[in-house]
Amino acid sequence: MASAEGQQHPLGIYYKIWILLFVLSGFSYAVDYFEVQGALRWTLVITFMFLKAGFIVAIFMHAVWERLALVMTILGPPTVLLILIGFMSIEGNYTEGLRFDYMGHDRDAVALTPADLHGEEGDHGGEEEH
């Protein structure tokens, strides 16, 4: 699969991935629509997200057919971001703890919803933990 001549592949694979991306997006939306909460929500949303991202990069952007030298250049550097994400979440949790413990912030504050503000009688969806 010499990429110097360009990436030519049968159309069928594009249609299949296209449909798959629709289905996965539908699943992601269904997670919200059926109000799946907690750890299951995170697991499902992140799984569908990585599957979609993987198929877009691999098939639509042709990464599976590229040589490893190019693939490493594309996917290698962004992996260091995992360290940044790890550091920032540790630091973030520490900061949040300090604010609760020493600045007297309310641990049980609840967000308002558009229904609360526009004076409608609506169920309270704001108790989502973050």
Binding site: I56, R67, T95, E96, R99, L112, L117, G126
Partner: protein
């Protein structure tokens, strides 16, 4: 390009390609450059998203309920997150038409390539239109500002305008880029040069879709 013929695959190929004094990437230079630009753009978007992660963890005020804020009513009860779902599907559709455009480009089918790129650009433009509608609704009806909002943590507004705004800018730039490529395809500018440019433009477009996958998950769903 002439002396540097790719030989081995896999790990051996990786070492071969890097170890000798020769061309490392066996792709047209424009494509290698586009990939490197996209890697740098990945870092920009990642900085925004990691910044979002940090403010979302550190804020002690409750995070506004996205599902309800981005709900839209078509006469009846508001449907949660429906506009965002439609925008997601539109962007995936445009990614599909772009993938087909790349394929027909390499087949030198200029008419199909032209119309598929135009369709991609049209979907992109409608995405930006919906985003403008979403921003208007949030600013005018819900009173969300970059420095505060009536629902909860003020960081919600700054993250929202920053991240979706920067992404929308990418989509808008992509629409202009695609129209430019489409016109040149139609005029026969690439007949002798080859149609790699369609694939390069496609890489950019798929990247914009890719970023939206992450924004959709982290900002709207979680």
């Amino acid at each position: 390009m002439s002396e540097a013929t790719a030989s081995h695959e896999g790990i051996t190929g990786l070492v071969d390609d890097w170890a000798a004094d020769k061309q490392a990437y066996h792709v047209p230079w424009g494509k290698a450059m586009m990939w490197i630009f996209l890697v740098s753009d990945t870092f920009i978007f990642s900085c925004f998203l990691v910044g979002y992660l940090n403010v979302r963890i550190t804020t002690t005020q409750p995070w506004p309920p996205q599902s309800e804020i981005f709900a839209l009513s078509f006469g009846g009860d508001p449907i949660p997150l429906i506009l965002i779902a439609i925008m997601t599907f539109i962007l995936i559709t445009s990614s599909g038409t772009m993938a087909l455009a790349v394929n027909f480009g390499y087949r030198k089918d200029k008419a199909k390539t032209f119309w598929l790129i135009c369709a991609t650009a049209a979907f992109g433009a409608s995405f930006v239109g919906m985003q403008a509608f979403e921003w208007t609704k949030l600013i005018v009806d819900e009173g969300v500002r970059p420095w505060g909002n009536p629902f909860g943590a003020p960081q919600f507004g700054s993250v929202f305008f920053m991240v979706t705004g920067f992404h929308g800018l990418h989509v808008s730039a992509g629409v202009i880029y695609l129209m430019w490529v489409a016109l040149r395809v139609k005029r026969g500018y690439y007949d002798d040069k080859g149609f790699e440019i369609v694939e390069i433009a496609g890489l950019y477009w798929h990247f914009v879709d890719l970023v939206w996958v992450f924004i959709f998950a982290f900002f709207y769903l979680l």
